[in-house]
């Protein structure tokens, strides 16, 4: 099909059939539509430059350029549709893939990403991000949580308690994301829930990004005395981002309940047949 769509009665996600990338998310319940372009990018890690000898390392995030490079401009896609689940499998490169998944009756989109082993034979350390670009007017503001408790407003190149002299345009605007990050234009809200603590930011209006993996070749000389470089072939990492598009008025109710279910996830245990009655006595 020329139009690639997965949908249930609550959400519709449309993909660009030429590139295989996510193009639009619609909340069918609330009649909200948002063009969303999501893809994977990587920052080239600084090994020190004229301004500072500081290299990107285990402690320090210091990309050499403000603009990240795309892992790929398009994804090879496979569509899976059954009555319980609809999935778009996106393969960006030999080391980056993603499944965008929508279950029956689910009010959020699930993005299961797999990144790694990050290739470093080109001698460039890489810090890989998943970025969502939207036309939303966010006025340089975004929101992140602090240990799943208080949601804090973050502003571009700004600190609420002192006058900031911003020297790192990317890293200086990165914040910890423990369970969620969101952007809003006052009417609609795009929330991304994480399954682990990650770094995140919004470096452009309407944009939102999360760092998913990094592999570096130089020690940042902050005490570890090792570059952030796994031995052998390197690590492959898999995680999930849960995406909610909703009106601002009911966004909190949705992301709070979903985050609780994600953090306190149901535990699955299997048992073969052949049980015998058991009493604690």
């Amino acid at each position: 099909s020329r139009v690639l769509v997965i949908e249930n009665k609550y959400i519709r996600a449309t993909f660009d059939s030429d590139t295989g990338l996510l193009r639009k998310i619609e909340n069918l319940e609330q009649n909200i539509s948002l063009p969303v372009r999501q893809g994977f990018f990587w920052y080239n890690a600084s090994a020190g430059d004229e301004e500072s000898p500081q290299a990107s390392g285990a402690y320090i995030f210091r990309p050499s350029h403000r603009k990240p490079l795309p892992v790929s401009h398009w994804a090879q896609v496979t569509l899976v549709k059954t009555n319980l689940v609809q999935e778009v499998h996106q393969n960006f490169s030999a080391w980056c893939s993603q499944v965008i998944r929508l279950y029956e009756g689910q009010r959020h989109l699930e993005l299961e990403w797999t990144v790694g082993p990050i290739p470093v034979k080109d001698d460039w350390g890489k810090e890989v991000i998943s970025r969502f670009n939207t036309p939303m007017r966010t006025r340089g503001q975004f929101f992140t949580d602090s240990n799943g408790r208080e949601i804090l407003k973050r502003r571009d190149d700004f600190r609420p308690t002192w006058t900031l002299n911003q020297t790192e345009p990317v890293a200086g605007n990165y914040y910890p994301v423990n369970t969620r990050i969101y952007i809003t234009d006052g009417h609609m809200q795009l929330t991304v829930l994480t399954d682990r603590s990650q770094g995140g930011s919004s470096l452009l209006d309407g944009s939102l990004e999360l760092m998913v993996h990094r592999r570096l070749l130089v020690d940042d000389e902050r005490g570890v005395a090792e570059p952030l470089l796994e031995t052998d072939t390197g690590d492959k990492v898999r995680g999930r981002h849960l995406v909610i598009l909703s009106s601002v008025s009911d966004a909190a109710a949705r992301h709070r309940l979903l985050a609780e279910q994600e953090v306190l996830a149901p535990q699955v245990v299997l048992a073969h047949g052949g049980s015998s009655p058991y009493h604690s006595q």
């Binding site: 569509l79 319980l84 570890v224 604690s280």
Partner: protein, 172 residues
């Protein structure tokens, strides 16, 4: 006997920022992983004991430690098994259960012994060079409680999944 203390202690050690953010030497990172794995072993016994006491049945419980990478020997090699789902949240939770299985058609029954809808879908080609399958079915678990679903393999081939799953396009 089960014991949650080793996992409790490992988790306490892992509160250090080095463990949370990865700002540690590789051998320290390896040790964090070792402590977690060593702590989880006796915890599995503890959970098994609790489940036996709550369900009033003693069984050999299996835990899928590598389910995030679609590996679970118990579900991949068994033709009949039960799935016990515990919900630690204080309200009813609906979820979609995904389990790696061998190719086939499966019959899934809910705690009331009623047949429920299930699918077998192919995992992404990027996950594995060989065809791999996952069984998925909707489950509902009460607040702070558990539900038991039963799974039976009906045949060795999954015609539905073959027909519904698109093949990846050749690389341009």
């Amino acid at each position: 006997s089960g014991d949650s203390a080793p996992l409790n202690e490992a988790m306490a050690v892992l509160q250090h920022h080095d463990a949370v953010t990865g700002t540690a030497r590789q051998n320290v990172v390896n040790d964090y992983a070792k402590q977690l794995a060593a702590g989880w072993g006796p915890c599995e016994v503890l959970v098994s004991n609790a489940l036996a006491r709550l369900s009033l049945y003693k069984q050999n419980f299996s835990f899928c430690r590598e389910i995030n990478i679609s590996i679970c020997p118990a579900s991949q090699t068994s033709e009949h098994f039960r799935v016990i789902i515990y919900n630690p949240v204080g309200r009813k939770v609906d979820l979609m259960v995904r389990l790696p299985v061998s190719e086939g058609i499966f019959l899934v029954k809910d705690p009331n012994d009623r047949r429920i809808s299930s699918n077998v879908v192919m995992v992404p080609s990027a996950y594995s060079k060989t065809y791999q399958w996952e069984l998925l079915f909707p489950a509902s678990v009460p607040a702070l409680g558990f539900s038991i679903y039963s799974v039976n393999k009906m045949s060795g081939h999954n015609h539905q999944a073959h027909n519904l799953t698109a093949r990846p396009k050749k690389s341009k």
